[in-house]
């Protein structure tokens, strides 16, 4: 075993580095999210009667659930960029929280319906549009987190990519709540899950290819 030439080369190449700071990463992500939210309202994409909308229980359920999920996911994802951090346990807790949020939403839903009524409530044409908008809104935090992930050194790239996708998707859905004209919990649980799930899965399978190190 002789690594002298490699070690000499690396030592010659050595330059002082600025250490990665967790606080700075958090601030970058927070700035991206805040800018997106501000731009969303400034460009008039939000519903005009937001104060009235805030009186509905489903709006609070959506905001609280998606806010909590995105907050935890962002926090876990940023910590996962450190090689020594394992996101495994955090992901399990996150799965439990997502399940609780969905069950809570279903409890808000009106009583049992027939199949035709359920199909009518799901309203797939609008649902697909909602999911597409959510996906578009999740792009800014997804790009920001991906750049940070590439700069960091995650050692569990698959789970970290999953967390990055979930964080970005939950934030995209959170912002979309202010524009969503639908209040039916069944519709919301279904199409928000489709939108968030798409971004999460896309991130899980695509991101590790670009962030391998």
């Amino acid at each position: 075993m002789n690594y002298d030439s490699l070690i000499n080369r690396l030592a010659e190449d050595l330059k002082p580095v600025r250490r990665r700071r967790l606080g700075l990463d958090i601030m970058i992500v927070a700035a991206i999210c805040a800018a997106e939210l501000a731009l969303f309202f400034a460009l008039g994409f939000a519903r005009p009667l937001v104060p009235m909308m805030m009186k509905q229980a489903t709006v609070w359920w959506r905001l609280a659930s998606l806010g909590l999920i995105s907050l935890i996911s962002f926090s876990l994802a940023i910590q996962s960029f450190n090689p020594a951090f394992s996101p495994r346990l955090g992901l399990r807790w996150l799965a439990v929280i997502v399940a609780i949020c969905l069950v809570f939403g279903l409890c808000l839903s009106a009583g049992p319906d027939g199949l035709n009524a359920i199909i009518h409530r799901l309203n797939w044409r609008d649902g697909v549009q909602c999911a597409a908008k959510m996906i578009a809104l999740s792009i800014p935090p997804l790009v920001g987190l991906s750049v940070l992930m590439r700069r960091g050194a995650p050692t569990d790239t698959r789970r970290t990519a999953l967390l990055v996708g979930l964080a970005a998707a939950a934030w995209g859905a959170f912002v979309f709540v202010f524009a969503c004209p639908f209040d039916d919990p069944l519709y919301i649980a279904t199409w928000y899950s489709v939108g968030c799930g798409s971004v999460t899965l896309l991130s899980r399978f695509v991101l590790p290819r670009f962030t391998a190190w």
Binding site: M1, Y3, L6, I7, N8, L10, A11, E12, D13, L14, K15, P16, V17, R18, R19, R20, F81, N82, P83, A84, G152, A153, T155, D156, W213
Partner: protein, 176 residues
Amino acid sequence: MTDSDWRALMVAAQSGNAGVYRRLLTEVGVWLHRYYARRLPSAMVDDAVQEVLLALHEKRHTYNATQPFGPWLAAIARYKWIDRLRAMKAATMEELSDDLSILDHGEAVQSARSLEVLLDLLKPAQAEVIRLVKLQGLSIEEAAARTGQTISLVKVNIHRGLRRLTLLAQDQADEL
């Protein structure tokens, strides 16, 4: 060397101290060699160690000086180890059968030996330039520089040597 020693070395390395960094990488190299010797086939150990040293260099900014160095290094080593295991699993392995036939190199060996015998019959200056130019692929100028002969003398020696080799080979063929 304790973890706090390693931590101190890494912090100094992050500030750009090349001497300390060289020492740290040497120590880490020894540790990694032991780590991979228990986990990978011996032929892959050196490559794995070098890969981690490169990764450590590239990602040295991610080390947090308030945290211990050992777990940080172990996490990177483990990550690269799993990467290698995945690559090994993906690579197609062919089992070699016992009755695998291989090419017979006897003829090539015999030809090389015959050529050496014939070259020994030439004048040393001729044999030397023929070896350099015709067998090792050097240019006339390089052979001239190597042997101290002039370029024209190299050409003459090659020409005469090859002609003599042809005659010697013909004589041997006639005898057979």
